[in-house]
Structure formats: structure tokens, C-alpha cells
């Protein structure tokens, strides 16, 4: 059995920040496990420049932030296991990890870390309509990985469902890769993401149909692939309005209908969860230290409620400081001062009409924290 000071599950912005911050504050033996072939979570497919302030590396592309964080973690001696999944926990917080081997096989490893940070991120939601299983219907995140990481176009003519920032940004990036986006379809009366992202789509001459949804996808293309997409206007109760159908020729449908927190590992521990609509589903309750209700287990990033990369990164910073405090590397007063600074930045990220809802949701989750159980 391996013993470690800290096991971080997930090498996205939250997990990497947790590891970096813990290491910077004196935590020695840190392992980060991630089931992907590359670390960085979603950062490496974010080829666009990020919003935010100077402290958040605003104006820098997400992929470059990912590379910088990875380099920093490695220079601090953080051990990163790729192709490795934490598949469960035994009693007394013993983690069971499928460790990826250089030859591609996996080995089961048991680890008893003093502290654990669960930073498993989010998962895309699915939308069901007639023909939703047709080849060529995929998550917007999957399409983004294809164009930006694997450099493969998912198709030539794409219909995007959803106008949150993911739908808008991925539409733009699909066009950058040379695909044509036929239209964007949004069930709500207004565009859900930032107007500046929507403006890029509009300047490219791509129509955005609000109060519409996909009625049917036909798969008469090669090998049963998507051949046409019919959209329909909907009433305020989301019922189709007959006679308002429009049909487009397309070979791909991408779904950007939000994400939900991945809380599978959280559920295996004695951790209280709460359902939070704005955050996308069941989330672990935690305090301002990013402590869960189970002693020694911390949570950060989209696992605690779906937001965005900078917020995940700052929550990871908080968790890293708190872990250093729990392990006795820094004093409570030092930790409090560091956390205060990070929370000020977090509050900044949750301001304005787009952030207020997330700020309220976070407050609601933290207010339900009953305390840490040993």
C-alpha cells in the first residue's frame, strides 16, 4: 500500500491548482491521477483567450494556461499519473487506482493518502429528440476535442443546439477549423452566453434561432449518418408549435445543453450532497476551505457546481492552502490570510449579471455545511 500526503483525483484546472498550491505551501508527497492520456482537463482544448483579470491570465489562451500549470506542477515535484483512474474507495479512505502502465496495460494500486482532493469536473448533458442516436450527433465538448486536440473535423455542416458560452465558443472554433455552422438553436427566448461570443457568430452570418428546438434528425447520409435536421419553434412551455418547422441539410449535430457535476467518487465517501439547479445537479456541500463533510477530503472545481475554468482554478487554490493547513505545513492564520485573498478573486469572478446566479448558488451550498465529521 502506498502512503501519500495528498491524492488529487483529476488533473484539470481545479486538480492542478490544488496540487500546485499545496506543494507551494510545503506539502511534500503529492500524486495527481487522471484517466485521460494528457493532463489539463478541458484546458488544452480551450484555444481561445480567456476572460478575467490580469491575475487570472486573462487574454491568454486556455491551452497555454494549461501548459504553464502543468510545468509548474512538475517543477514542484508533483507526481502525475496519466491514463489512471481512481475507481473507488475502501474504508478508512483507502483509494483504489487503476494505474496506467507504459505498455498500455493497467495495474491496480492501493493508496492510503492523508488527504484527498476530488476534482473530477463535469459531464455534458444529453438532449433527446427523434433521431438523437444517429451517427453524427455528439456533445459539443466532443466536437471541440476533435477539432482542437485531435485536429479532425467532426463534419462539414453542423447544427449547434444551445447558446451558452460552450455552444457559442465551440461554434466559432468549428468555423475556425473550416467547418460550416448552419445555425444555432436555443430553447430559451434569449441567447444564454456572452453577447461578445454571440457577436462573433453573427458576424460570420450564422443565424441563431431562439425559442426553437430540434424536432427531428434524419440519418440518410453515408453509413446512416445525419443528413438533415428539422428544427421547430416552441411555446413558453417548450411544446412544439406545429407548422413552424425548418429543415436544414447537415451532417453533424452538436449538443451544448449544459453540464452536470461528476460526483461518483464523492458519493462513495461519507460526504453530504445537495441538489443545486444552477450548478447542474448533485454537489458535495463544503465550507469556505473547500472541505467536504468527511475529514481529510476536499472538493474543488466543477465537481462542486459547474462554472468555468478560472473559478475551478481558484477553488483548487483554496483547497491546496487548506490541505497544507490540515497537514500542519502552514498555520491557521497563514491559511486564513491566503484564503481571504483567493476568495476576493473568486467573488470577482462571480459578479455581474452572468455571475450573480453562481454566487448565490455557491452561498446556498456553503450555508448547508453541517461541519466536518471525523
Amino acid at each position: 500500500m502506498l502512503s501519500k500526503d495528498l491524492l488529487v483525483v483529476g488533473a484539470g484546472p481545479a486538480g492542478l491548482a490544488t496540487a500546485i498550491q499545496a506543494a507551494k505551501n510545503g506539502v511534500k508527497d503529492i500524486t495527481v491521477v487522471d484517466l485521460n492520456m494528457k493532463p489539463g482537463g478541458q484546458l488544452f482544448k480551450q484555444i481561445h483567450k480567456f476572460f478575467g483579470s490580469h491575475e487570472h491570465r486573462a487574454g491568454i489562451r486556455g491551452m497555454d494556461t494549461g501548459a504553464a500549470m502543468l510545468e509548474e506542477a512538475q517543477s514542484l515535484g508533483v507526481d502525475i499519473w496519466l491514463n489512471s483512474a481512481c475507481v473507488g474507495f475502501y474504508d478508512d479512505k483507502v483509494a483504489c487506482i487503476e494505474q496506467g502502465q507504459p505498455d498500455g496495460t493497467k495495474k491496480i494500486v492501493f493508496m492510503k493518502p492523508k488527504t484527498i482532493a476530488i476534482c473530477t469536473g463535469g459531464q455534458e448533458n444529453v438532449v433527446r429528440f427523434t433521431g438523437w442516436t444517429t451517427p453524427g450527433v455528439m456533445g459539443a465538448g466532443a466536437a471541440q476535442t476533435m477539432v482542437n486536440v485531435n485536429k479532425v473535423q467532426p463534419g462539414k455542416k453542423i447544427v449547434m443546439l444551445g447558446t451558452g458560452n460552450v455552444g457559442l465558443i465551440v461554434s466559432y472554433q468549428l468555423m475556425q477549423s473550416g467547418c460550416d455552422v448552419v445555425c444555432l438553436v436555443e430553447a430559451l427566448p434569449g441567447i444564454n452566453g456572452y453577447g461578445v461570443h454571440a457577436s462573433k457568430i453573427s458576424r460570420a452570418g450564422v443565424p441563431i434561432y431562439t425559442k426553437h428546438t430540434i424536432k427531428e434528425v434524419k440519418g440518410n447520409g453515408p453509413n446512416g449518418r445525419v443528413s438533415e435536421v428539422t428544427i421547430v419553434e416552441i411555446d413558453p412551455k417548450f411544446n412544439h408549435i406545429p407548422g413552424t418547422e425548418k429543415t436544414f441539410e447537415a451532417d453533424t449535430v452538436t449538443l451544448a445543453a449544459g453540464l452536470k457535476p461528476v460526483s461518483d467518487l464523492v458519493k462513495l465517501q461519507d460526504i453530504d450532497l445537495v441538489f443545486n439547479g444552477p450548478f447542474g445537479g448533485w454537489v458535495p456541500v463544503h465550507n469556505e476551505k473547500m472541505q467536504s463533510t468527511c475529514k481529510g477530503i476536499y472538493v474543488a472545481g466543477d465537481t462542486t457546481g459547474v462554472e468555468e475554468a478560472n473559478t475551478a482554478l481558484e477553488e483548487g487554490n483554496v483547497a491546496g492552502v487548506s490541505i497544507a493547513e490540515e497537514l500542519g505545513c502552514i498555520t491557521a492564520a497563514e491559511a486564513d490570510a491566503k484564503r481571504k485573498e483567493i476568495w476576493e478573486r473568486l467573488d470577482g469572478l462571480r459578479m455581474g449579471p452572468f455571475g450573480e446566479r453562481r454566487a448565490a448558488a455557491k452561498k446556498e451550498v456553503m450555508e448547508q455545511f453541517p461541519g466536518v465529521r471525523a
Binding site: 487574454g59 461578445v196 457577436s199 460570420a204
Partner: protein
């Protein structure tokens, strides 16, 4: 119709956000036009400007505001804006022509001297244009800034070129 409903900005929204530029300033030459009317937590435009011509301040969700007198139209903010929402408009280019500079991240990158179709905020073709300048130094981090020459009457409309 607001940007939230239709996906592009109206002149009234720019006026309401106090982001419209005065005719007197336009008469003096190139100036940055910020088209950012929603309160999002973002300020790289402010930090990009060496002339203290863009102010966001605290809180970071304030709308960016141009100081017309300080702005030299240098364009340092254009490639830095993650929202690609800043343009350099020069209505004093000549008696009949104006130039508009905008970020353009599609391939192929336009080349100086080529003729392209200039589009408005809705992507509708407004006129033919000639590529006047293409800037893509390292500091722009792979966001080329393209300047097009257009008939003056389209200076408030043209914000990009049609993707080839």
C-alpha cells in the same frame, strides 16, 4: 432588439453603454470602438492600453469606457480582447474612404491588397473592400488584426470580412 435576443449589438445599446464615439473625435482620425455592453468580469483591454484610454476599474464587471482624447487608435487592445469586441475605426482616412480594423482568426488570413467582401455585425455583405494592413506580431498571440479600406458611409457598419 437587444444583443441577448438577436446576437448582435444595436447602435442604441452602444449609446446606452456610453461607448459611442463623438463626431469630433472621429474627425481627428483612428480611434478604438469598444462594443462590450454586458457586465462580464474582464479587463485585459484596460491593462493592454499604454495611454490610459480604456477604463474598467473596480469592480471588474464595469463596462469598459473609452477616453477619446487619450486614445491614439494604436490598436494594442484589439487582439488582447478575449471577446473580439474592439475595432479601430478611422473616418478621417480620406474624403471618401474610411478604414476599419478588426480581429480575424479564420483561415485563410487576408493579405494586403486583396479584395474581400466587408460584412456588418449580422454578417451581411455591405461592400467590397481592399485589405489595407494585416498585423500579427507575437504580442497579438495568433489573433491577426486586419484593416480594410471601405467607402466612408459604411464605417459604422463594417466589422469584419466574409469568411472565404
Amino acid at each position: 432588439m437587444s444583443i441577448k435576443e438577436v446576437g448582435y449589438i444595436s447602435k442604441q445599446e452602444l449609446i446606452d453603454a456610453k461607448q459611442d464615439i463623438s463626431d469630433a473625435r472621429y474627425a481627428k482620425g483612428a480611434v478604438a470602438v469598444v462594443e462590450c455592453v454586458q457586465q462580464i468580469p474582464c479587463n485585459p483591454c484596460e491593462t493592454a492600453c499604454k495611454f490610459d484610454a480604456i477604463n474598467v476599474g473596480d469592480p471588474i464587471t464595469n463596462l469598459p469606457k473609452i477616453n477619446e482624447d487619450n486614445c491614439t487608435g494604436c490598436g494594442a487592445c484589439v487582439a488582447k480582447c478575449p471577446g473580439l469586441a474592439i475595432f479601430i475605426v478611422n473616418k478621417a482616412y480620406s474624403d471618401t474612404e474610411a478604414t476599419v480594423a478588426f480581429p480575424y482568426e479564420y483561415k485563410p488570413t487576408p493579405e494586403v491588397g486583396e479584395e474581400w467582401e466587408a460584412v456588418n455585425r449580422k454578417g451581411e455583405v455591405q461592400c467590397k473592400c481592399v485589405i489595407e494592413k494585416v498585423m500579427n506580431p507575437k504580442a497579438y498571440d495568433r489573433t491577426p488584426v486586419v484593416t480594410v479600406k471601405i467607402p466612408k458611409e459604411f464605417a459604422d457598419e463594417v466589422r469584419s470580412v466574409k469568411r472565404k
